[in-house]
Every structure is written in C-alpha cells, then in structure tokens.
C-alpha cells in the first residue's frame, strides 16, 4: 500500500493521537489538528493548533495542506468533546460547545476536506461516533444527539460525494480508556461494557482496525455505513 496523506482532527490526545501514531507507523504522511499542541513529533507529521469549530481556521489549515501536499487521501473527523450530564443539569453553554465541536466541526472539516480529497484515487472520510447513540444513554443527551447528527452527516455526505469517488463512513467505539470519559463513574462504564455482545473494554487498535477497513482500496463500495464495536447495533 502506498503512503497516504491523512488529516486527523482531535489529534492532540486520545484516539486521535493514537491513530496518528498508527498511520505514521504505516508510512503515511499525517496532518493533525487540535485545540492544544500535540506530543507527536515526526518528520511526516504536521500539527495545527486549530479548533475545528472555527471555519476560518479550518479553511486556513486546509489551504496549508493543499500547498504542502497537493491534497488529501483521508480525512478522519475524530475531534469531539463530551459533557456527561443529565439534560436538566447541562448548562446551555456546554450544549453549544458540544454541538459546535462535534457537529459543526465535522461539517467544517468535511466542507473543506472534500475539496482536498476529490482528486485522490482512493478518497476516504471516516467520522467518529459513539455507541451512546444506539444505546440512548441517559446522562449523555447532548453528546449522543451531537453524534446522531454526525451519523446523519455521514450517510448524507456519502450520497453527495460518492460520485466524486469519495466514501464516507463512521465508526462508533464502545468505552475506551481515554480522557474523554475520565470523569464518567467507572461503575457506569462497567455496566455499559457488560451489556455489549462482547463485554470487553475496547482499545484504540479496535478502532484502527475498522478505520483501516474503510480505508482499504477494496472498500470502494463501502459507504454511508456506521459500524459499532462490541456487538452494539
């Protein structure tokens, strides 16, 4: 497999940083963005301190990528924030931040990303969702709602860009030990894991496995799909 040009959002830590690491190991040229700096340093890695909710900043980043690499082969919309709280106790400002990052962030990066991807012979968009959507987890209303929107974006984007040779899919991890869920009570997470068909904690490698499946050239007919880990459906 030849080296790919990949943009990973939310690359500063967690799943995003881990995916960046895997792609670099695979020989890819990787661009990452996050609101904070990244620990990753590599000759094939470029990090942008960009908030995906900021349309102008995303546009600037994509223009820089266009100049540096001529385009992209893969866009991984991973950036996301979570505010685990009962809806009645969720501050409206928290709700707005979740929607800004999780929904508008995906929109902004896809809006610009399409322009970079469409000349790639194997163009792929992969969005990150969550099992909180199908499980309708209480205490995660705004987070799950934002990711439900991401799933709709995934399916409709797939229809709109299919003719350009771009696929768009999503992967929904079960709980993984990252900062995103660090404040969620462990008993709640254990109970969630226990109701999975495969009652185990997932790892970043499980996510990477699904992502790589979507990225394979042979997956050219796979689009508009949402794959959850752990047997959740």
């Amino acid at each position: 497999m030849s080296a790919r040009r990949i943009l990973v959002t939310g690359a500063s830590r967690g799943i995003g940083a881990a995916l960046v690491s895997r792609f670099l190991e695979a020989g890819d040229t990787v661009f990452g963005c996050g609101r904070s700096a990244a620990d990753t340093t590599h000759e094939r890695y470029t990090h942008f301190a960009v908030d995906v909710a900021n349309e102008e900043a995303v546009r600037g980043m994509c223009n820089t990528i266009r100049t540096a690499a001529g385009g992209l082969d893969v866009l991984i919309n991973n950036a996301g924030v979570a505010r685990m709280n009962a809806l009645a106790l969720t501050p409206p400002e928290d709700a707005r931040q979740v929607v800004d990052t999780n929904v508008l962030g995906v929109f902004n990066c896809t809006h610009q990303g399409i322009r970079l991807l469409r000349k790639s012979p194997c163009a792929r968009i992969v969005n990150l969702t969550t099992v909180a959507v199908p499980l309708r987890l209480e205490g995660e209303a705004i987070y799950a709602a934002s990711k439900a929107a991401v799933e709709s974006l995934t399916r409709i984007t797939a229809k709109e860009v299919g003719r350009m040779g771009i696929t768009c899919n999503a992967v929904g991890p079960t709980p993984i030990r990252t900062d995103l869920i660090a404040k969620v009570p462990s008993a709640k997470l254990d109970a969630l894991v226990a109701q999975q068909a495969i009652p185990s904690w997932a790892t970043v490698d499980d996510v990477y496995n699904v992502v790589e499946f979507f990225l394979r050239p042979e997956s050219r007919m796979i689009t508009g799909q949402v794959v959850y880990l752990g047997g959740i459906s």
């Binding site: 322009r115 003719r163 350009m164």
Partner: protein
C-alpha cells in the same frame, strides 16, 4: 480579474466537467449557456463538482473564493443558473472585501 477572465475560467471548468460526462449529457460551453436548473442536464451533485472546480481555478489564479451560497440549489434564485449569472456572482464576490 475582468469579467472576460472569469467567463473564460468558468467555460474552461464547464468543458472540464464535460470530459467525464456521457455524450448525451454534455453541457453547452457557451457564454449564455444554462448551468443549473430547468433545461440543464446538470443535477445538484454535478453542480457541486463544477463549483469546486471553479473554486480551484480561482485559487490557482490567486483568488480565495467560496462559492457556498444559501441560494445554490434554488431553482429560481440560484446564482448558478447560467454562465452569465455565475460570472456576475463571482465578479461580485471578488469585488467584495474579504
């Protein structure tokens, strides 16, 4: 960039789109041609590809322009109805402050 320059750029993009379209789905490459809407074989997804091609060409010419517009898919008010409306729209965008 003059209107003639913009028109040339748009027509080049239309011709480029034709390269990947079937013979019976070709778009006319003329200064007064319809682009999108009744009477044009270009559907909404085809329009997206054309507009992104035009954005690319404008960027290559040193102009950062977004052709995203809330009226894009409107049958009656779209600035992308024809080559003349599209040229006028781009001219307006280039003249407006960034």
């Amino acid at each position: 960039m003059t209107r003639e320059d913009i028109q040339g750029l748009v027509l080049t993009a239309v011709a480029g789109v034709n390269a990947s379209r079937d013979a019976d789905q070709q778009l006319p490459v003329t200064p007064d041609a319809l682009v999108f809407g009744p009477g044009s074989p270009l559907d909404s997804l085809g329009l997206v590809g054309l507009l992104v091609d035009i954005e690319d060409a404008l960027r290559d010419a040193g102009h950062e322009v977004s052709l995203s517009d809330s009226r894009a898919m409107s049958q009656s008010r779209s600035p992308f109805r024809s080559v003349p409306t599209l040229v006028a729209y781009i001219d307006e965008l280039l003249a407006s402050p960034a």
